[in-house]
Symmetry: C2
Subunit: 363 residues, 2 copies
Amino acid sequence: MTDSINTIHIDLGERSYPIIIGPGITRNESLERHISQRNVLVVSNETVAPLYLEQIVNGLGNRLVESVILPDGEAYKNLDVLNRIFDGMIEAGFGRDCCVVALGGGVVGDMAGFAAAAYQRGVALVQVPTSLLAQVDSSVGGKTGVNHAMGKNMIGAFHQPEAVLIDTDVLTTLAQRELSAGLAEVIKYGFIRDAEFFTWLEQHIDALLERDTDALAHAIRRSCEIKAEVVAADEREHGVRALLNFGHTFGHAIENLQGYGNWLHGEAVGAGMCMALDMSARMGWIDEQAKQRGISLIERAHLPTRAPANLTTAQIIELMGRDKKVMDGQVRLILLKAIGQAVITAEFEQHVLETTINSALDA
Amino acid sequence: MTDSINTIHIDLGERSYPIIIGPGITRNESLERHISQRNVLVVSNETVAPLYLEQIVNGLGNRLVESVILPDGEAYKNLDVLNRIFDGMIEAGFGRDCCVVALGGGVVGDMAGFAAAAYQRGVALVQVPTSLLAQVDSSVGGKTGVNHAMGKNMIGAFHQPEAVLIDTDVLTTLAQRELSAGLAEVIKYGFIRDAEFFTWLEQHIDALLERDTDALAHAIRRSCEIKAEVVAADEREHGVRALLNFGHTFGHAIENLQGYGNWLHGEAVGAGMCMALDMSARMGWIDEQAKQRGISLIERAHLPTRAPANLTTAQIIELMGRDKKVMDGQVRLILLKAIGQAVITAEFEQHVLETTINSALDA
């Protein structure tokens, strides 16, 4: 077991910030050190707040701390629920000099982050992610937002936090299904950018599922390093950052059609990555063995590898047309040239896309 | 009569943009030149759309143009109505490569601007302001947002447009009350930064009210020049930009307490500027003659010079405590050291503020 603390820097000029990773860091002085504001609003949800809110409030010492507790789940990630955060900030009388602390998983981080982006046109934000998915992905990089009834993350902002504090101890209370969902994003980093990390994951997937502390610490650190590199190269997703969406164009369509919250985001990404692998193989970009290695790892992480059979190809294609990567009416997909090497492309034939989806739905 | 077209540049590095001012510029090639996107959403309101929407759509030539028409008035500047703009964009299938055109006054500009800031985390925006207030103030500088039930412009973003197209011909259809409300912001520029312009306004206020073309063109150009200087010096209001809020801290409290839409924004700013003048005089910063010159010009513009008598001092002070300029719990006010020279200050005694408000309410 390690109790070392790692710091990764996201290099974004005047918007640079540290990611602090380690056991127990929400119980030590990290909160005090990284939050300078006197007025703090902690945003959390009904599941996380009973476990960690008191600890965070105590860690903030002698400040004015208010909290807003949201219902738990992607189904509540909308403008109406967002408004409860604004209500809390205004009722507390908080001004532009306050700080929002996002204590929870990806939904809490995205909503608290967008609230911080928009309240009085922008206040400080510190992310304290409590799910594996939020720790390795959504808390890092400044994407915030809410869903629209007709599309995921359609309304939002780029708003970088002052710091991301990743306490690896909180994973002990994470549901097994949530752990697997987080592993989907971890595996994604191997697919898009690091074949060596992919091989490491093949060797350590069982240890990760058993919450081996060292294995989790390594997986989180390497995931955050890759995300930090990609975000520093392309903060606002004009280019390489889109690669982080590997599996997500298919996945978002599944999530939307199933109704947010029925499939976890990471589960939809798991199935979506299998579809992207299959399509990469159909285009002759990767061989059958690479495809099978990919699908096998996703399966071993206890993630779905196929789309829900109740959906239709036409439904999925229609939803994919609303993806944020669409340009001049053309869907753009992230596909693999090899494990460890992703590309964004609009150069595919529609019938290959349709065959891929048909095949993923085939019962 | 002039038909010269003036261009003022807002210098914000990669976010720089032109303000084009002139008669008939929404009927010439300016729209085509400044909007490169194939997909365009025009946001307007029930009052402006019947007058100018067709002209704008025709001017956009061979593109996919959709429109969303909002109800008219500050009372509708909220998250619920904002969502109608998102609905329109998603139903149209618009991606990140679309452009939002704001065709209307300050409310339309602020809402369409915030929708452009947040849709898919940011799309292009072109402002086509149709009220004097929007032409000289709200369309320039990138402030966007909506009101919260408990405070004005509490939710929003800084999102600079690609261009601001000011067609001075559209002022022929503006209601007289709206013209006066716009003059409040014009007069504000004289107070905060340009004593010579203030003197010019004293000489030309009647011509402006009679819509003299040359006088309006000069007033709009000089107002935009001052705004451009201030915004370029301080895009995100960390310093000098706050001076543009002269009269607004008092004014926002009046607007909120009267219910948005009962007093026009510019009317509340007129009364608010009189209160700021009175307080500047009570602090010994300006003399009685300067104060009277200021109040007299506001009165000649047919703007209110006093707060509504049904309000109480305690109500106004409570609302002022929610102003976005509050820092460490301390209200900060914009006051005058002289006509043409404003300062931001938290250095005032509470009883002077109370006396100022009491005196403005005194029936």
